[in-house]
Amino acid sequence: MRMSRFNIVSLVFGIAFLYLPILIVMIYSFNASKLVTVWGGFSTQWYRGLLANKPLMDATFVSLRVALASALGATIIGTMAALALRRHRRFVGRGLFAFMLFVPLVLPEIMTGLSLLLLFVALDWDRGFWTITLAHMAFTTSFVALIVDARLADLDPSYEEAARDLGASPLSAFMRVTLPMILPAIAAGCLLAFTLSLDDLVIASFTSGPGATTLPMRLYGQMRLGVTPEINAASTVLIVSVTLIVIVIAWLTRRHRQA
């Protein structure tokens, strides 16, 4: 079908509104000039500068570790929660459990961050790597549970029954039939948790301590001293990695729909 002129115009404006700022950041990351707003020719010096910027590299490393650890934790807990919700249609407090599991999806980040900070202070825990990781797990678990739950909802129970009928114990039926069938959804959930953790600034700011600064926190800190092309370069790296992960998630979730 041919698109009307109106639709083409709305599409172009919509896309431009969403992606033009990001595109500008990416273009200026290749700027040879030190001035952020003046184009001085093509250069990759800021990317080389990134590698030499030790605080920034340390922060990247912290972010990756936090994202990896929290994504793994969230995947395990979120998958288990989704399984419990789907398998046992009736248990005391099921409705409340389902509600409480999905509330963090809509809770303002600043609330999550503040409440976790108060908790860690009350427990008198030193804030650092582990508190950020726990905080990230707390909000990304909901996303994993949501994705896995959606997959389980359209998984025909007769597959697992067929496995049981063919002599598989409940555990074996789960490991050999259910788990392989929901694995793409679990992987998608895990990657989503990873990206959410990598992106997060607000919750990490509340729950981090000295010595554990994540990449978004470091970038934000540097920007307050002035935007340098180096920040553009770091942002570009972050955007490109997150985009790649999102593409993989889309591919995984589209694939499991066909099964």
């Binding site: 007769s158 496995a163 049981r164 009928d165 002599g167 598989a168 050999r176 069938m181 099964a259």
Partner: protein, 364 residues
């Protein structure tokens, strides 16, 4: 009601007074029946009649609220599904999409711990039995409906169960393939010697394949018998209507005498054998009704004046809807006899006749 099996064969499954409810819905109510070794048994009934719930209880999915299920003399009522010597072919086949054809069929043998060389020999044999041996390496998504059905069948028989459960095995196939598959299933069952229990809502399917059929309705078994028993001697109005077509008529019962009754339909009296039954309807199959020109009478038959309301050509037969004084009847005329026989037009005055012996007594 007969719970005893076919004579000469030992019982394999005994279902004893089994009931099951889901919340306030009573799915199965006090069902007792016996399936014999090597028997082809069908549970026949409309959806919601409890036939699937009963089959699932035999497989181990869902426990009865009351009653017992015995398998080869052993009480399996509370045995989990993976420990029962029973396999099931699911209605949607439930082939594992992440495994290929060979791996699907080998699944049960692997769970059982059958060593690899024997496993692959048995999988090959099962695939050969269903003529799918050349598809072993295929992905299951790439198969047609009929091929999936064969793979599901191979997967269910490869463990050599004592009883194979088939849940609407032909429902997903188109008509031509269904008829072919009916014959193949019957043939496979005889050559394997495994007892088959088929759940179906299709009476033709049950009649063609099964040695015995249990007709179910609203969670209860109405009648158990061979296809001929059910067709020729239904015990109730419901069975007479469900198995084949029947004109079910409430006659005027005038007198009982020595196991016979004097009844009248539209004022025409006749005698039929009723045994000890006192209250009953009669059922007459459409093909047992003779369609006659007016004023013709047949000695020894019940003859009624009628008019033709509708005529339906159905290929092998022509079906007439005719009205007598108080009843509407269906009569079937074999089209093979058309050239010689009488074929009235709608609106025409005719007579219908049936032998009193062809009137089935329906007590329930």
């Amino acid at each position: 009601m007969g719970t005893q099996g076919v004579t000469g064969r030992p019982p394999l499954v005994s279902i004893e007074h089994v009931s099951q409810s889901f919340g306030s819905v009573r799915a199965v109510e006090d069902v007792s029946l016996t399936i014999c070794e090597g028997e082809f048994f069908a549970l026949l009934g409309p959806s919601g009649s409890g036939k699937t719930s009963l089959m699932r209880m035999i497989a181990g999915f869902g426990e009865p609220d009351r009653g017992r299920i015995l398998l080869a003399g052993e009480d399996v009522t509370r045995v989990p599904p993976h420990k029962r010597p029973v396999n099931m072919m699911f209605q949607n086949y439930a082939l594992f999409p992440h495994l290929n054809v060979f791996e699907n069929v080998a699944f049960g043998l692997r769970e059982e711990g059958v060593p690899k060389p024997e496993r692959s020999a048995r999988v090959d044999e099962a695939l050969r039995l269903v003529q799918m041996q050349s598809y072993a390496a295929r992905r299951t998504q790439a198969l047609s409906g009929g091929q999936k059905q064969r793979v599901a069948l191979a997967r269910a028989i490869v463990k050599r169960p004592k009883l194979l459960l088939l849940d609407e095995p032909l429902a997903a196939l188109d008509r031509r393939l269904r008829e072919e598959t009916q014959e193949e299933l019957k043939h496979l069952q005889k050559s394997l010697g495994i007892a088959f229990l088929v759940v179906t809502h299709d009476q033709d399917e049950a009649m063609m394949m099964a040695d015995r059929i249990a007709v179910m309705s609203a969670g209860r078994v109405l009648q158990i018998g061979t296809p001929a028993d059910l067709y020729e001697r239904p015990v109730s109005r419901a069975v007479a209507r469900f198995i084949g077509d029947a004109n079910v008529i409430e006659p005027e019962i005038r007198a009982h005498l020595d196991g016979r009754a004097l009844v009248a339909v539209d004022g025409t009296p006749f005698e039929i054998a009723t045994g000890s039954v006192r209250d009953f309807a009669i059922g007459v199959r459409p093909e047992k009704i003779r369609v006659l020109e007016p004023y013709v009478s047949v000695p020894g038959s019940v003859t009624l004046d009628a008019s033709v309301e509708q005529r339906l050509y159905r290929g092998d037969v022509t079906e007439l809807r005719v009205r007598t004084a108080h009843h509407v009847w269906r009569a079937a005329i074999l089209n093979a006899s058309r050239r010689t026989g009488f074929m009235p037009e709608p609106g025409e005055r005719i007579r219908i006749a049936f032998a009193p012996d062809d009137a089935m007594v329906l007590p329930e």
